[in-house]
């Protein structure tokens, strides 16, 4: 678990360096971090709960080896205080648990709220592209610019893999960006091909921001709608290129998702899905191992993800719709530097302050980042690209 011990060191050194009031007491086994805030709140505030310890315990995830205390966090930074918040280390209270038994409406609302809340901070720290960078080899560069260019490279490598032509006869003229975020891919593709691009997202905040950025960059042929990828507001066969960059993981019904993608693709058009998956199951395996399921569940809860599938599942679905030239690749190794870089940016002073200012959903998302690394390290989480053509 090299990443994990590096993470712990990184956390420790970052906190120590900044002499912040937060001292990391302990990084537990693999599953949680305990942030301890020393404060003199007790002295200043006569209403301080006598039952609280002197330190603010902010424990997040279930740790089988520790007792599970019920903790009040009434002394979070004052600007954000809305009264005592009870944070249990079992299931955090305001969580939407996304699984196929809950109505999809609450998942959709959770996704919309999550991105409404966190898009701003992401854009501040990482810019307009809300996806992994593509890395090959390592040159030791860890600057922001390096990661930004890796995110651009991800788009280019994706187009290359899918065989998207850029000569004027064959290039895409109408593109849909399914799960468009703040429109990074939409704008990039529209500019590259001189094409019209529609983006859809569940988040009104994202749609608005995406539109603002398009207008600011003079990209008039790019527009955004608040819409559901599972019920796309487009007639059949509308688009030459159907682009889903890291949105597939949010779709609760993979079959419906793939059906919609195929429906809105024009004959001869191409579909590109770049997504997080779990590893392919071996022949004879019906499900993932128990501890693998537990790990994924934790990640799902924080990122408003429904159950995961594998890239083989996607291939099967595409094949069942008679789509042609189905290609799949495992790019897990090519995205490996990404999560450590995101964690590092979250632990920067700017990142930290921004997280505090954002909201609980964003903070939860940030706290679960080490689990993504763990998932990748275990060979459980894969980063896959699947492309095909509609005959």
């Amino acid at each position: 678990m090299t990443h994990q011990s590096n993470m712990a060191n990184l956390l420790a050194s970052t906190f120590m360096t900044y002499h912040s009031p937060i001292t990391m007491i302990q990084a537990f086994n693999n599953n949680s971090f305990l942030f301890v805030k020393k404060n003199s709140y007790k002295k200043k505030n006569p209403r301080y709960n006598k039952h609280q310890s002197e330190c603010l315990l902010f424990t997040y995830l279930k740790t089988p080896h520790l007792p599970k205390p019920k903790i009040s966090c009434s002394n979070l930074p004052r600007k954000r205080r809305r009264g005592p918040i009870s944070i249990r280390s079992t299931k955090p209270t305001e969580m939407v648990i996304a699984n196929e038994n809950k109505p999809n409406d609450s998942l959709k609302q959770g996704i919309a709220d999550f991105y409404d809340e966190s898009s701003g901070i992401w854009e501040d720290m990482w810019g307009e592209h809300m996806h992994h960078g593509f890395y090959e080899g390592s040159n030791g560069d860890t600057s922001d610019a390096y990661h930004r260019s890796a995110q651009i490279r991800m788009i280019e490598e994706t187009l290359l893999f899918a065989g998207i032509s850029d000569d004027s006869a064959n290039k895409p003229k109408r593109i849909v960006d399914v799960g468009c975020g703040i429109g990074g891919s939409s704008r990039y593709l529209a500019r590259k091909y001189g094409a019209q691009c529609q983006g859809i997202t569940l988040s009104p905040v994202q749609a608005k921001r995406a539109q603002e950025l398009a207008v600011a960059k003079g990209l008039d042929q790019v527009t955004f709608q608040v819409a559901d990828a599972l019920e796309q507001p487009f007639p059949n066969g509308e688009f030459d290129l159907v682009w889903s960059m890291e949105s597939g993981e949010h779709m609760p019904d993979k079959q419906k998702f793939v059906n919609e993608l195929a429906r809105v693709t024009a004959p001869g058009g191409k579909i590109i899905i770049v997504t997080w998956c779990h590893r392919d199951l071996s022949p004879g395996e019906e499900t993932l191992l128990k501890d693998e399921q537990v790990l994924l569940k934790k990640i799902c809860n924080s990122y408003y993800l429904p159950d995961w599938c594998s890239s083989a599942d996607y291939v099967k679905l595409l094949d069942s719709l008679n789509l042609q030239d189905i290609k799949v690749a495992d790019w897990t190794d090519n995205v490996a530097p990404f999560w450590p870089a995101v964690i590092k940016s979250a632990l920067s002073w700017k990142g930290f302050i921004s997280l505090f200012k954002s909201g609980w959903k964003t903070i939860k998302g940030a706290l679960v980042m080490p689990l993504m690394i763990q998932g990748y390290n275990k060979g459980l989480i894969k980063f896959a690209i699947i492309t095909c053509r509609k005959p």
């Binding site: 109505p103 999809n104 409406d105 959709k108 003229k173 109408r174 001189g194 094409a195 019209q196 529609q198 859809i200 569940l202 009104p204 749609a207 608005k208 539109q211 003079g218 008039d220 042929q221 527009t223 955004f224 709608q225 608040v226 819409a227 559901d228 599972l230 019920e231 796309q232 507001p233 487009f234 007639p235 509308e238």
Partner: protein, 122 residues
């Protein structure tokens, strides 16, 4: 929301056989200058549904588009300019899009259409 977008949006409510085109109820329309790009227009021309575009433009207050078109008109700069203005310059900032079959209203707020369906419409 521009007319270029409107020409591609349709209602996907369960049971609806033809959800295109959506009727427009305009409350606030703005016109914004956009750079003229004839190549883009020529590419788009073949993919536009013409009748819905003309009707929608009229709802937004623009009646200068010809009723009938043919590809040779793409050589005329005047035609391209009108097409450009209709497709790209008029923005529906506030209003409603209405499903032609069910009458269901989709709001357009600050230029962004909200096409999300309710559970029972899916």
């Amino acid at each position: 929301m521009r007319l270029l977008t409107h020409n591609m949006l349709s209602s996907n409510i369960k049971g609806v056989t033809n959800g295109f085109p959506l009727k427009i109820e305009a409350e606030k329309v703005m016109e914004k200058e956009v750079d003229f790009n004839p190549d883009f227009l020529r590419n788009m021309f073949y993919k536009i549904e013409w009748r819905p575009l003309v009707d929608a433009a009229r709802t937004m207050g623009y009646a200068e588009l010809p009723e009938e078109v043919e590809p040779s008109m793409l050589d005329s700069e005047d035609f391209l300019r009108r097409l450009h203005r209709a497709l790209l310059q008029f923005h529906l900032e506030e209003g409603t899009l209405i499903c032609p079959e069910t009458g269901r209203r989709f709001p357009v707020v600050k230029g962004i259409p909200n096409m999300l369906l309710n559970e029972d419409e899916v």
